[in-house]
């Protein structure tokens, strides 16, 4: 694999710079998605009738192809990183809301009653009881959102070379250097697997009461 790590100079950064850019473009939207999904999910749990319409809207949004989403946004945000990140944030939101709603709903009513009986207000009950118990479900949603986000950033290549590691795909074609495409695919896949593993580790750290067996799942 000659020239595997030899990044052409028309790209924004070198190899590690591109990895950094890729992670930023992929994970900031997931974080934004999580920050929006938490209150939305809480509203859906509070007002049950809200869940069906929210679920419908998010399903429709998820059906918008990422490429079309990027292109439609060019008119508003230009060929920038923001244009790549907005759709990714929306997709993350779509994955996270049902995951969090299921997680929070799975808290047994006795546990909630016990928390209320101990004098916890709604805010503390949410932060100290419901949210921690929902952590495994939330992390499961985050894993899907983060991995698919990392994979989707590459498509940003098509809108003004905003695809971080995906930009290597274009260079692989215009310079006839297939190893660059191999590099792009492998590095992106490894990033996805590493981030996934990191989230599994975070779950193990956040839920010390869970049995240690099956941590890998």
């Amino acid at each position: 694999m000659n020239g595997f790590f030899d990044i052409p100079s028309d790209l924004q950064y070198g190899y590690f710079g591109l990895i950094g850019l890729h992670l930023r473009e992929a994970l900031l939207p997931v974080l934004a998605g999580l920050l929006v999904a938490l209150p939305v999910a809480q509203l859906c749990v509070r007002f049950r009738w809200l869940y069906a319409p929210v679920f419908g809207v998010t399903t429709v949004l998820y059906a918008v192809p990422s490429l079309a989403f990027f292109v439609l946004l060019i008119d508003y945000t230009g060929m920038t990183e923001t244009t790549v990140m907005i759709p990714l944030a929306v997709y993350s939101l779509v994955v996270l809301v049902p995951a969090i709603v299921d997680g929070v709903r799975s808290v047994p009513p006795e546990t909630l009653a016990a928390a209320t009986a101990m004098g916890l207000g709604p805010v503390r009950r949410y932060l100290q009881v419901q949210l921690p118990i929902a952590v495994p479900a939330i992390i499961a949603g985050l894993r899907v959102a983060a991995v698919s986000s990392i994979s989707l950033v590459s498509i940003g290549m098509l809108i003004g070379n905003q695809g971080a590691l995906g930009n290597l795909l274009n260079d692989a074609q215009i310079y006839h250097r297939p190893p660059l495409a191999v590099n792009s695919v492998l590095t992106t896949a490894v990033l996805g697997i590493l981030v996934d593993a990191a989230l599994v580790l975070v779950r193990a750290l956040l839920t010390p009461w869970m049995p240690r067996k099956g941590v890998t799942r």
Partner: protein, 222 residues
């Protein structure tokens, strides 16, 4: 001009409704690619998921395989396969199948594994062979979840099959890729609208299939 004006202009232009680059042709191509990809993915994912779910073993291995497949960037894989294999349907099908297998595999495994044990034990006690237990007891009960996995896969494939146009194939992605290259915004918006419409139609099809195929008893308890 906003998105709706562009869509109106696109669909109002009679030239977009006829011929090689007409909406009916592209629509048909898109459906064909999507059906092929989901069909191949189901042929791989369903049997493996059902059998491992029935035995309740290998869940960790399946989850790792699914994570690895999910981590493969679909678009990157497409470009890579195109540079390696050249022009053909195979470079398009490989990434789409890799995209569709994980949800089918994982949900069908989970669906069969989480079937209530009492009916399965009853079937075994009545002397049903394992294959019939899987097909006649576990499968009908697990069907709603299995269908939801297939639905997720189908929606992702429909919306991602647009990238086939990047390697000179047809489908609705042609409008998006060509429109992008020609700075023809109408085309892009029109193509995107059509893809969203097809994804929604897919949702509708799965809703109808689950109405017909899922046994009423299972639907009531679910």
């Amino acid at each position: 001009m906003n998105v709706f004006d562009f869509a109106h202009a696109f669909f109002g232009d009679g030239a977009h409704w006829h011929g090689q680059d007409g909406i009916p042709t592209r629509f048909g191509e898109h459906i064909l690619y999507s059906l092929e990809a989901v069909g191949i993915a189901a042929a791989i994912g369903l049997p493996v998921g059902l059998v491992t779910g029935h035995h309740g073993r290998g869940g960790n291995a399946l989850a790792s395989i699914a994570t690895a497949a999910r981590a493969l960037p679909t678009f990157g894989l497409l470009v890579l396969m195109f540079t390696w294999l050249g022009f053909g349907l195979l470079p398009v099908m490989i990434p789409l199948v890799a995209l569709a297998v994980p949800p089918i595999l994982v949900t069908s495994y989970e669906a069969v594994r989480s079937v209530d044990p009492p009916p399965v034990d009853a079937a075994r006690g009545m002397g049903m062979p394992e294959a019939r237990i899987l097909l006649q007891v576990e499968l009908p009960v697990a069907l709603p979840l299995i269908l939801s996995g297939l639905r997720t896969a189908a929606i992702q494939v429909v919306s991602t099959a647009t990238i086939a146009a990047y390697v000179s194939f047809g489908g609705l992605g042609r409008y998006i890729i060509d429109g992008l290259a020609q700075r023809d915004y109408e085309k892009v918006v029109g193509g995107a609208t059509l893809v969203v419409g097809m994804a929604l139609a897919t949702l509708g099809v799965f809703w109808a299939v689950s109405r017909i195929a899922v046994s009423p008893g299972v639907r009531r308890s679910g």
